[in-house]
């Protein structure tokens, strides 16, 4: 034993005798995580969140969350002598006078955009691989909660600098609040402490943005990760991987090194973006006053789909009993998002109700093997993308020589027509891919080598695929549709017959599949 080892041992022993950490560490540091790039998407979100906490803390040192009016006397000449809120003036101060302030602001904003991108991409991975199935439904709901809170948190951050763009966004948010029937105007007065814009809003959302929501985030992220820890990570199908094991690397040292290194890479990419690309140039927007608005006022991308829905809504209002109901804001601003997020949160339960599958799953699905789910995801994604595109309709129109009206009609029709098309096309594609898998297992890989037979005929040589690959392509279960009887054993109609019929039909649609290769099939093909 060298001197160095002796010292290390003494220190470790000292700590262990007082904390009992050794046993716990031994167990947990050896915990195995499967290795796949798509499992790192959630980590991007986690690391962006850490970057947000660090850069956000820096910004709070100088940001003044107040709508008190001040006259700007800073170093940005085009705004000199202009009246503005202290919030806006301090944002300019951070940008132009605080050392590294502009970089930090840009890091904070790019990290926020990246945080939301990573959440969405992670959600898509979880959805399309079926990782939300039992026992992970709660974690799925927590994830949907994080996504929703992320949108709110991002929007509040976008609103804080009190520039012309933020103020315009807040004004639209106020319109959405007011669109709530009956309570809308009361809620608006409550939120703004009186008339819009008032002096209360920025200080209030500041507390929510830097204290309340980050606290909730921390709690939810902790539970999210603890559940992953406790339930163990899912893994992609492959030889040696079962529902009862996890194949991968131990947390220490391999995974810890990879994950730790990845944090610095995420930080690096965020800092790189912030160093080379300007984001939210508040000094160009000018201070917010309700009398001004800019062409091309947009929210950040994670709200863009919502803005797109509002932009495409036809102007429908009803007046009844002295109340106006603005359907053109209520439907796209509250009802449709409400349906979308409720559907998203409840999806694990809906799918298990349709398929009747109540078992635990730790092996992920290949998206093609569950055509209905994949198609449904493609449909929802298409809906959101059409809405998002319409959120930038004016920029797209001027960039590509289109008219705003064409964009609007494309979106209005597209949002109804394209998602069903996406559903059908995706479902067919999945089935085709299943068929291709089947061919691959049965006939092997096309080598690209042509052989000329003595008869003059050309044939392409196929090479059998490896046993491992064949296993991966055939390990999935063949779904069995539910067959709920209309009548019980005595021939009496069961209650809920219509519901059962519907469930049977949905279950049949969910279970559509190309039959996978069986041992029988392989034997047969060996004969010829």
């Amino acid at each position: 034993m060298t001197a160095r080892e002796r010292v290390a041992g003494t220190v470790a022993n000292y700590v262990d005798e007082r904390t009992g950490a050794a046993k716990w560490m031994k167990k947990n540091l050896n915990k195995v995580f499967p290795d796949h790039w798509s499992f790192l998407l959630g980590e991007i979100a986690l690391y962006s969140f850490i970057i947000l906490l660090l850069s956000g803390t820096f910004l709070t040192f100088w940001f003044d969350p107040s709508q008190r009016e001040v006259v700007y006397e800073g170093s940005y000449e085009p705004l000199n002598g202009i009246e503005m809120s202290a919030a806006y003036a301090s944002t300019l101060h951070i940008s132009f006078e605080v050392r590294g302030g502009l970089l930090m602001r840009q890091i904070h904003h790019w990290a926020a955009l990246l945080f939301m991108v990573a959440i969405v991409v992670h959600l898509l991975r979880v959805y399309f691989t079926g990782a939300f199935r039992k026992p992970r439904e709660f974690n799925w709901i927590i994830g949907v909660g994080l996504l929703t809170l992320g949108i709110v948190e991002g929007f509040l951050g976008y609103s804080l600098p009190d520039d012309l763009l933020s103020g315009t966004g807040v004004r639209i948010a106020q319109a959405i609040i007011q669109a709530l029937p009956v309570v809308g105007s009361y809620l608006s007065f409550f939120a703004f402490g009186g008339e819009f814009p008032g002096e209360a809003f920025i200080p209030r959302i500041y507390t929510v943005h830097v204290l309340l929501l980050p606290g909730i985030f921390l709690a939810l992220i902790t539970v999210h990760l603890m559940l992953v820890w406790y339930q163990k990570h899912t893994q992609y199908p492959g030889p040696g991987r079962t529902e009862k094991n996890v194949v991968g690397y131990p947390l220490f040292p391999v995974y810890m090194a990879k994950a730790g290194g990845f944090f610095f890479i995420v930080f690096g990419v965020t800092a790189f973006l912030s160093a080379v690309a300007s984001i939210n140039p508040v000094w160009l927007y000018g201070p917010y006053t309700p009398g001004q608005v800019s062409a091309g006022s947009q929210p950040d991308w994670y709200m863009g789909w919502l803005d797109g829905l509002v932009r495409m809504a036809p102007p429908i209002e009803t007046h009844a009993f002295g109340h106006t109901i603005s359907w053109n804001i209520l439907i796209p601003g509250l009802i449709i998002p409400g349906i979308m997020f409720t559907g998203l949160a409840l999806y694990p339960f809906i799918e298990s109700w349709i398929s009747g599958d109540k078992r635990e799953h730790h092996i992920l699905d290949r998206p093609r093997n569950v055509p209905n789910r994949t198609a449904l995801g493609a449909m929802a994604l298409t809906f959101t993308i059409v809405a998002l595109l319409n959120g930038g309709n004016d920029i797209i129109a001027t960039t590509f020589n289109l008219t705003i009206n064409q964009m609007m009609w494309f979106s209005r029709i597209g949002i109804l027509v394209l998602p069903p098309i996406a559903f059908v096309v995706t479902k067919r594609l999945c089935l085709s891919l299943q068929r291709a898998d089947r061919d691959l297992v049965l006939h092997g890989r096309e080598t690209g080598t042509l052989m000329r037979m003595p008869s003059g005929e050309f044939v392409e040589i196929h090479e059998p695929i490896s046993a491992e690959k064949a296993w991966t392509l055939t390990q999935h279960e063949q779904p069995v549709p539910l067959e709920l009887e209309d009548t019980d054993a005595r021939g009496v109609r069961r209650p809920g017959a219509i519901k059962n019929k519907l469930r049977n039909r949905m279950s049949r649609a969910h279970a559509v599949a190309v039959p996978k290769v069986s041992a029988q099939d392989l034997k047969e093909i060996e004969h010829h």
Binding site: D35, H36, W37, S38, F39, L40, I44, E77, P78, L79, N80, I82, S95, L102, L103, Q106, W110, L113, L114, V117, A118, V121, L164, L165, K258, G261, F262, V266, V269, L273, A275, V276, A277, S278, I279, P281, L284, Y285, G286, G291, Q292, S294, A295, G296, Q298, D300, W301, G304, G391, G392, N393, D394, I395, A397, T398, L402, T403, I404, N405, G448
Partner: protein, 263 residues
């Protein structure tokens, strides 16, 4: 060729070929669609008005009428003033090439002298706003940048965007960018209100206020891209595009690399 064909089944072969193809198509397109500026023809007449009348009769009267009275497709030019002629012809909007949606700025057909002659001729028949002189356009001396920005955001930004980059209007019309537009033309556009633009008379915006607006526009034009590439100064749309392409693209690339097994 043997060397190349060894790699044709390489994983990266398809993406690299795609990149090559895109690059080739883009280059071909940009070369093929390159335009040349039209040659300017020479005119010379003794008096400006006579010269202007000649040009008008040849180039403008078929739509605007022999006596500037206008027609079904073109407005009367009586009283539009020299400023309007200078703006429309000087920026190449007139004579018009395409009447479909909006008359666009293009390389001018007439040279400076001819434009001046046309302007004098049109103004000689009925008075209207004058072309601002160089002395009256000394925005550097007479304007205030900050006040100009305030006025711009109140009066102009709703169409021309917060940084004067232009924006979309209805039915394919648009407010053009003000980047690279000469001070004279900005002043003339405010006074004469071409196409969809409202007229800002000297009562709405005093001459000093107009100069302030011009000064602010010029300041924005000259302002370096603070904080990195400006991304077009059109707001969050391009930021979202960048984060969804370069941002997450880089990180997914790294994730794939991290998860790769040693071969």
């Amino acid at each position: 060729m043997k060397y190349l064909s060894r790699y044709r089944r390489h994983r990266a072969a398809a993406p690299i070929l795609l990149l090559f193809a895109l690059f080739a198509i883009g280059t071909t397109f940009s070369v093929a669609s390159a335009t040349t500026t039209p040659e300017q023809s020479e005119f010379s007449r003794s008096t400006a008005i006579e010269e202007g009348r000649e040009i008008f009769l040849k180039g403008c009267s078929s739509c605007h009428g022999l006596n500037l009275e206008g027609s079904a497709i073109a407005p009367s030019l009586l009283g539009v003033g020299a400023a309007s002629v200078d703006f429309q012809v000087g920026t190449g909007r007139m004579p018009v090439a395409d009447l479909s949606v909006q008359i666009m700025r293009k390389p001018p057909v007439y040279d400076e002298k001819e434009v001046a002659a046309l302007a004098v001729y049109v103004a000689s028949l009925a008075p209207g706003p004058e072309i601002p002189t160089d002395a009256s356009l000394n925005y550097e001396r007479d304007g205030s940048t900050a006040e100009g920005g305030e006025l711009f955001r109140t009066n102009c930004a709703m169409c021309h965007n917060f940084a004067a980059q232009g924006g979309a209007l209805t039915q394919g019309k648009y407010a053009p960018t003000l980047m690279g537009v000469e001070a004279k033309y900005i002043a003339e556009a405010m006074t004469t209100g071409p196409q969809s633009m409202p007229v800002f008379s000297d009562k709405t915006l005093t001459p000093e206020e107009k100069l302030s607006i011009i000064k602010w526009v010029k300041a924005v034009e000259a302002e370096p891209a603070l904080g990195g590439a400006s991304l077009g100064r059109v707001g969050p749309v391009t930021e979202g595009l960048l984060v969804w392409t370069l941002g997450i693209g880089l990180l997914i690339g790294v994730a794939v690399w991290l998860a790769m097994k040693a071969r």
